[in-house]
């Protein structure tokens, strides 16, 4: 209980530390997966890398550039803009993570695009993310983002569960991956619950932050485990 009180009393500072930890985790994952991608040109690895690039950039913008320590320095529009850009990056990160599991069913490994971040197929995600951000702006809510991400992570959890059933005899990691996807799903559900039923209660939000941290740490663990396995 004391630790909760301490967190609440210093919440803005902890938010920055939290964002920096996530930024560091994302940077390590992007760096490690980019190295593997440059060697293999595997599209799944490329989309996985992109997901963490978007997550990392989003957290950096929201919690570092949009820090309440700067309140009063900029116009309120600035913070609204930062919040919307954060949403866009988070949405794109979720879509890329899901697409890294789905791409084989949608495109051929022989098809080459000039950019993996903006091409004919990925454009749909950009449009969806922009539409969701705009809808949230019009209705002055975060619900469109929450529900789209709940759906995205529910779908990703089902796919990773199916992978777990296929490969659990060969590898232990798919179990952690499924758990990570479920955590992501629950973090988004809790976000929606905090907005709709608890009026952004700080107590509920702390649990969201903890779930998010575990989510990113599990991915980091998975990346280290896979990349540091014996050759």
């Amino acid at each position: 209980m004391e630790s909760y009180t301490l967190l609440l009393q210093n919440k803005e500072l902890f938010k920055i530390v939290y964002a920096l930890i996530i930024l560091f985790i994302c940077a390590v994952i992007v760096f490690k997966t980019d190295k593997l991608f440059r060697l293999s040109f595997h599209k799944g690895i490329q989309y996985f890398r992109n997901a963490f690039f978007f997550f990392g950039t989003g957290f950096f913008l929201r919690y570092v550039f949009g820090s309440p320590f700067f309140y009063g320095t900029f116009f309120s529009t600035y913070y609204y803009l930062i919040g919307s850009v954060f949403k866009y990056f988070l949405l794109m990160g979720g879509f890329f993570l899901l697409y890294s599991l789905l791409w084989k069913k949608i495109e051929s490994s022989e098809t080459h695009y000039r950019s993996s971040i903006l091409n004919a197929k990925i454009l749909i995600f950009h449009i969806m993310a922009i539409v969701i951000v705009v809808l949230d702006y019009i209705w002055q809510t975060h619900s469109f983002m929450f529900f789209s991400q709940i759906l995205t992570f529910a779908f990703a959890s089902i796919i990773s569960y199916s992978n777990l059933r296929k490969k659990s005899h060969k590898h232990k990691f798919p179990k952690f991956y499924f758990i990570a996807m479920l955590l992501g799903f629950f973090a988004w559900v809790l976000n929606a619950v905090a907005e709709l039923y608890f009026n952004w209660s700080q107590g509920v939000l702390i649990n969201v932050y903890i779930l998010n941290l575990i989510f990113f740490l599990l991915f980091l663990y998975g990346v280290f485990r896979a990349t540091n396995s014996n050759h």
Partner: protein, 90 residues
Amino acid sequence: MAKKRERLEVIKDILKSIQANRQIKPTRLLYASNLSPQMFKDYVNELVSKGFMKLEISEKDKKTFALTKKGYNFLEEYRVIENFVENFGL
């Protein structure tokens, strides 16, 4: 029916064939790769353009393929890449 090889596996097989022979003639590499001529051409062009292997032409105009440093690196890291792709279901 044999399972279709994944793209990553095809690349590994091509580069392994070169590694086993140090230098290999295009026709021998085509047989070793177990690909159709068109597919083989596509893969070889891509691997040469991305710097995994190189085409060497001797004074007698004989063509052979050899691995580059990047090609050796790929083979060294192949288990890691395969492990990563399988673990994350990518």
